[in-house]
């Protein structure tokens, strides 16, 4: 087995699992489209990384940090709804990216490419995914409590602002990691679709969150395998596998 393929597979397993797990929280918090928006906010960084020839995930991170900071700043300054400001920032990001994104790199930026992964890229991805997963697992029940009733959470001495901030950082890093696999355009689906499928099939939080994690992994493995065997692009097939599982989940949906 060639090493490149193994690296891709490992990165896909870790990133897919993390994105699925995070997604179960994002749907509960009604933030399903945030992953989508942030995928676009990351685009200038992704474009820069592709021009300079390094891993798009590492370009995405600073772009996301700047984007999120701007949204936060505009919100304080204008008091406009957060979603309007996010809309402004993410479309502007796309516009900026297309100023210097070379034509032959457009598809990589938009739908991802996991075929070129080095050892260090893999190692850093594994470490980041593991840390973020552990942080999410730690804050998971508090985040659900906050989404049920913020008053109740605060009465239980949950530091809501601190948890929301940690959660946002986790989202940003997960989006940056996922962009390598599915690109800016499809990143949103990597967090939403596996979690939505798992939600249809589960009775409790444990089944829901770990179900989403497993479906995320299956989808990503399937994408990488299809690329290896048929030579078709990974990103779209990751998402299509997840979508297929979602459709199947509708049949078994628990009442």
């Amino acid at each position: 087995m060639d090493l490149q393929f193994l690296y891709s597979l490992i990165v896909a397993v870790f990133t897919g699992g993390l994105a699925g797990y995070l997604g179960s929280l994002m749907i509960t918090k009604r933030m399903a489209l945030v992953g989508d928006a942030l995928g676009h906010v990351a685009l200038p960084g992704v474009a820069l990384a592709l021009v300079l020839g390094f891993n798009p995930s590492w370009g995405a991170l600073p772009a996301l940090a700047i984007g999120i900071f701007l949204i936060w700043l505009f919100e304080i300054r204008t008091k406009l709804p957060m979603e309007a400001l996010t809309g402004i920032v993410f479309t502007a990001s796309v516009a900026i990216a297309f100023l210097f994104l070379p034509e032959e790199k457009i598809s990589t930026a938009l739908i991802g490419d996991i075929s070129q992964i080095g050892f260090w890229d893999m190692l850093i991805s594994i470490i980041l995914c593991s840390i973020i997963f552990l942080v999410l697992r730690k804050i998971f029940s508090k985040m659900i409590l906050i989404s049920l009733s913020e008053d109740l959470a605060r009465a239980e001495k949950v530091k809501v602002e601190k948890y929301n901030f940690l959660y946002l950082v986790c989202i940003a890093i997960t989006v940056a990691l996922g962009i390598k696999i599915t690109g800016s355009l499809l990143m949103g689906a990597l967090v939403i679709t596996p979690a939505a499928a798992a939600r249809n099939l589960s009775r409790n939080l444990y089944q829901y969150s770990y179900g989403a994690l497993i479906i995320g992994i299956i989808s990503c493995i399937s994408g990488v395998l299809i690329f290896k065997i048929l030579g078709l692009p990974t990103g779209p097939f990751v998402i299509l596998t997840a979508t297929l599982i979602f459709l199947i989940s509708l049949i078994f949906k628990r009442k």
């Binding site: 049920l148 008053d151 109740l152 009465a155 589960s202 009775r203 939080l205």
Partner: protein, 226 residues
């Protein structure tokens, strides 16, 4: 603070959106005391509880005894039907073990069957959800419990058992209770003190002394008796 004093409130003023909703309130809560807060709808009762919990900004003085553990049952609590969160997992948020869960559910008159614990929180009836929420507030044995209209959505018989359970529990443990209600009734007989308010204090004191037709007219606008 005197030893058995748990909460001291003085000159409490709260404004919401420029409007004064609480004016110059003052009262005390001691150990093992049941304080009932009465008042018509919109009198600021829920705001008062939220302010005591530190959820609203205020002017004046709210002094809790140090390291006090407060349990809270909010008036509004709804759960989406399709949220996969089981009753047991809801209790696990408080790191409660099976014994503690079944004990607290029994306190408010429910059986902690395996089937019930496995149910989705969002599929419980409103009465069951209310009771579960009260049990959730009780499960880690707080020193004080703040209940905001805990009987909303519970039938008369259910109310009695919940009141009885609260009183029984209160006799066993040493906790204090602050209970908000918009109606007078059985509950007032069990209180140590009654605070009636409509933005400002209407009356405050022992139920036998303050529940008079004249005073009740202050709350409800016409003369009624218990």
């Amino acid at each position: 603070m005197p030893e058995n004093l748990i909460l001291k409130v003085r000159n409490l003023n709260v404004k919401l959106g420029g409007e004064r909703v609480l004016e110059n309130l003052g009262f005390d809560l001691r150990e093992k005391e049941i304080l009932i807060i009465l008042g018509p709808n919109g009198a600021g009762k829920s705001v008062l509880l939220r302010t005591l919990l530190g959820l609203t900004s205020f002017n004046g003085e709210i002094n809790w005894r140090k390291d006090i553990h407060v349990g809270y049952v909010p008036e509004e609590f709804t759960v989406s039907k399709n949220l996969p969160l089981s009753v047991k997992e809801f209790f696990n948020f408080k790191k409660a073990d099976s014994l503690e869960i079944s004990q607290s559910l029994e306190w408010i008159g429910m059986k902690a069957s395996k089937k019930f614990l496995g149910k989705k929180l969002g599929t419980l009836s409103s009465g069951q959800l209310r009771r579960t929420l009260i049990a959730w507030a009780l499960v880690d044995e707080p020193d004080v419990i703040l209940l905001d209209e805990p009987m909303v959505g519970i039938d008369i018989h259910g109310r009695e058992t919940i009141y009885d359970s609260l009183v029984k529990l209160w006799q066993k443990k040493n906790q204090s209770i602050i209970l908000v209600s918009h109606e007078i009734g059985e509950v007032c007989k069990k209180a140590d003190k009654i605070l009636a308010l409509n933005k400002r204090k209407l009356f405050y004191g022992l139920p036998t002394k303050v529940i008079t037709p004249q005073n009740l007219a202050k709350i409800y606008g016409s003369s009624i008796s218990l």
